[in-house]
């Protein structure tokens, strides 16, 4: 039901088979749930998306057995690409064991007879929400992002008719104005996630709500990055080795988050950290949001301030917050 985050989870590799012991009748559906015509439609969109990196291709998103906003776009993209030779990893907030990640992983194990893993290095397809894994991806891997709002300009202009024109004519001045207003008000750009990027020097794109910490990983990545927005019915892509730049200004260059702390469990000083409240007296600790990264480091003998035992964490003294 719950597990202390300190307990190192063993790498799990399981193979599910359709049909045998299938109480939910998954064998009554097509392989990978979607019918072939839907897959073809999505596949065509994916190739066009790769041909115009960062451009949002409208697609006939289907109603999925999971709610809109819970990864239906990512699921449709994954269902259209996945095959029995794939090894699938699903993360939410960087973690393999968050409930929605577990739920999506179960779905594919059931309907696509696919091997699943928690190890980033072993996966051929990684579906993600809100993070890019810490471990650098390699050629041949496919990262599928779940996208709640594909339109980076939507908060500035609610109308699709208008934003589509802005992309068509590369009129992105409004976005720069918004970022500059932040600087005027706060002294710095106050966007911390969904930080807009310019792809291939042409299209402004939403990186999805990943923290800006992950933005630099998008550019020049050897892996394929595919984005699915089910409710908004858009697909987009960043091919490998593509120029992706976070928007910024000469006098206010883009910078990622940093912490004074290291991961309390594995000691990593260069990973994205989650803050965990320990008690009601200000006690807190910081741990890697990427559970596989943290577990792999601990398995290799790296230890943080609180070691690998969550119980120790309970006794932790209150510490200062991140800067």
């Amino acid at each position: 039901m719950t597990s202390g985050i300190g307990a190192a989870e063993p790498m799990q590799t399981t193979r599910a088979a359709i049909g045998d012991s299938d109480p939910d009748g998954a064998d009554r559906y097509n392989y990978a749930y979607l019918d072939e015509q839907t897959k073809r439609m999505i596949r065509r969109c994916l190739l066009k998306a790769l041909a115009v990196p960062g451009y949002q291709v409208p697609f006939g998103s289907r109603e999925m057995p999971l709610p809109y906003g819970w990864g239906t776009g990512g699921i449709q993209v994954t269902a259209s690409i996945i095959g029995p030779d794939d090894v699938l990893k699903v993360i939410d907030q960087g973690a393999d064991d968050t409930t929605n990640a577990v739920s999506i992983r179960r779905f594919f194990a059931r309907v696509a007879a696919v091997e699943t893993t928690e190890a980033t290095a072993e996966a051929t397809v990684i579906q993600t929400r809100h993070r890019i894994p810490e471990q650098p991806l390699r050629e041949g891997q496919i990262l599928v992002y779940q996208v709640p709002q594909p339109e980076p300009l939507r908060k500035l202009e609610p109308r699709e008719g208008e934003t589509r024109k802005m992309h068509a004519y590369a009129e992105y001045g409004l976005m720069h104005v918004r970022l500059y207003e932040d600087i005027a008000r706060f002294g710095r750009i106050a966007t911390t996630y969904s930080y807009p990027v310019m792809v291939n020097g042409r299209h402004v794109m939403s990186p999805t709500p990943i923290p800006k910490f992950d933005n630099p990983k998008m550019g020049g990545n050897p892996a394929v990055q595919l984005f699915g927005a089910g409710r908004e019915k858009r697909i987009y892509a960043v091919p490998p080795y593509t120029d992706v730049r976070s928007l910024d200004f000469e006098d206010h260059p883009f910078a990622i988050q940093r912490w004074d702390e290291c991961c309390a469990l594995c000691g990593a000083g260069d990973s994205y950290l989650d803050e965990v409240i320990l008690d009601d007296r200000g006690g807190r600790m910081f741990v890697c949001s990427d559970t596989d990264h943290c577990g792999t480091r601990r398995a290799r003998g790296h230890t943080g301030r609180l070691g690998a035992d969550a119980a120790t964490a309970a006794a932790a003294k209150p510490r200062g917050a991140a800067r």
Binding site: Q37, L47, K48, V52, I81, P239, Y241
Partner: protein
Amino acid sequence: MTAAFETGFDTSRLATGFADPVLDAQAAFRRLLAAFSYVGRIQEVAEIAEIPAPLNAATASFCLTLADLETPLWLDGAAGRPAVAAWLRFHCGAPLADAPEGAAFAVVADPAAMPRLDRFAPGTDQYPDRSCTVVIQVEALSQGQGQGQGQTLRLQGPGIDGTLDLVVTGLPPWFAETWALNHAIYPMGVDLVLTCGRKLVALPRGTRIEG
């Protein structure tokens, strides 16, 4: 699949398509996905038992994977034989387009006689995805330099780590010139898939080509 094709053909004598329509299409799509991701790198698709001439395995695989009743398909004179048209209609259900302009996909079996690229739909400025993907069957396709008499294309752009050389035999002489025009209207433009036997390579519109 649909049996809505015209009279004069006995379905029992039609060449078969994918042995496993679901998993073979998935495997073939992954090769296409790789081709559009790792631009200019040659991918190989699986053999298909029976294919009507003059289609090669890669072209046939492309059509079986992506074409259906929603995608008008244009065949050039060499590809547009009755056996090919009947096979495509039977396995894909794709309507045949009369002219290149109306096609979502085009198959060119004789590149020497093919229409220039600006005859195919380039999409619109607001919907550049509504553009044609043209499959061109070439005589030879290889990676790197020094492969004999082929034309060496030096590729650069998204999907390519630096530059990449592709050697092609059989493209029309005007290819480089019209490709430059196609690239210049980015993000509009057509995308190409070059095929040869089981080999295929993608040249999406964003690719710069020298050579």
